[in-house]
Symmetry: C2
Subunit: 233 residues, 2 copies
């Protein structure tokens, strides 16, 4: 058995708890310094440094020097997607780190999944799109309808420039807290950016939670109404 890709290497990289914590922290989408990642992982700076170089060699993260800091991010969207997949699978098998679901209710409600919105609000957004015919689905694949482009335009997002050849426009991503799908892809990213730019919400400094202002929450809920419970896309 010496054929094929070396999945064991990727597995080993993700399999260490300290490295897994670092990667989870980087799923927040923001660049973090080695010191911050050491804290997130609960190890000293020396240990973290060793882990970070291994993750970089493995192609999971990349770094950018800036002054005397080194900022680390996930290498690219593929790395984020991979981690999302593994999280979804782990959650589907009940492998949670502290009993059922996150303790933090804010995290259950809305959090960042690499570059898009996850949690209750993320799921609601996709449900709303599907029930209103903005997005159509056939089992797993998602497509924005003609009418959907108009509706999304009214939110203030132009769909056209989001269609790139590298990344899909919309993609479903299994939500580990809701056990449902939420919206990923360039559209999912654009929507989250839009909420943050408009000041409807901000990222928590400590976790991946996304905190909505009262007004932002009101606007979000009216933009994404739930007519009736829709089937899992």
């Amino acid at each position: 058995m010496k054929e094929g890709p070396d999945i064991a290497r990727i597995g080993t990289l993700i399999g260490d708890p300290a490295r897994a914590n670092m990667l989870t922290a980087l799923m927040g989408g923001q660049a973090l310094t080695a010191t911050e990642l050491a804290q997130a992982a609960g190890v000293t700076l020396q240990t973290a440094s060793s882990h970070l170089s291994k993750l970089e060699d493995g192609g999971l993260i990349s770094q950018r020097k800036q002054g005397r800091h080194r900022y680390f991010t996930l290498a690219d969207g593929a790395a984020g997607t991979l981690l999302e997949n593994i999280m979804g699978f782990a959650a589907s098998r009940g492998h949670l780190r502290h009993q059922p679901g996150p303790k933090d209710p804010a995290l259950r409600k809305a959090r960042i999944c690499y570059d898009h919105l996850a949690g209750d609000y993320g799921v609601r957004m996709l449900d709303s799109f599907v029930s209103r015919g903005v997005i159509r689905t056939d089992g797993e694949n998602l497509m924005v309808t003609e009418q959907g482009r108009v509706d999304i335009g009214q939110i203030g997002i132009d769909v056209a420039p989001l269609v790139s050849s590298r990344r899909p426009l919309c993609k479903s991503c299994l939500d580990w807290s809701e056990r449902r799908s939420h919206l990923a892809g360039t559209l999912g990213k654009a929507l989250l950016s839009h909420f943050l730019e408009k000041g409807w919400a901000r990222r928590s400094s400590e976790s991946r939670a996304v905190l909505f202002t009262p007004e932002g929450e009101r606007k979000f809920l009216s933009l994404f109404p739930l007519e009736r419970p829709s089937p899992e896309p």
Copy 2:
């Protein structure tokens, strides 16, 4: 950092070379005994037994007792998809176990990817579908067109019963040897089954390679013509 799914557990399971070899062997889609998996992994039966119980506890595989044998398979489609994803990611970072690509040319040409066809032939099949308008794509998602249902029906496969709510009809799956996508999903599975049933090809007993007969190869190539190189879906 104690939130969320335990990705480290999944990583650790996949991260051991012996276990990774077992999982790779099970990607062939056939149920294998503990002894066979021990051979595939290159360890003794005692060691294999320990690994197998860990993989089962982790929800990656399941077993079925039959007489004095125990047959192991991947737990479900989700487990297969997860491994496919990791393989694709590992290949995209150049993490191959023995230099560029598989040594075995048969494996490069056609092999089983859990339950569908991969390799040169798998990629060609999807390319042909896309260039002929049988399948339409928007970045990542794949959809069978109206005309496509007819065309696939002429091959001898009825699309209607393949549409299940649990698994998508068609899905793209990154091919680690070709670095292109091939066709997965229930349609991909049905096509492979069809080739095997018709006797156009058979599975190799030693590896995941799919061996076409001369006649099967002729039919395959005429069924899936390549008009001109099509862009990566």
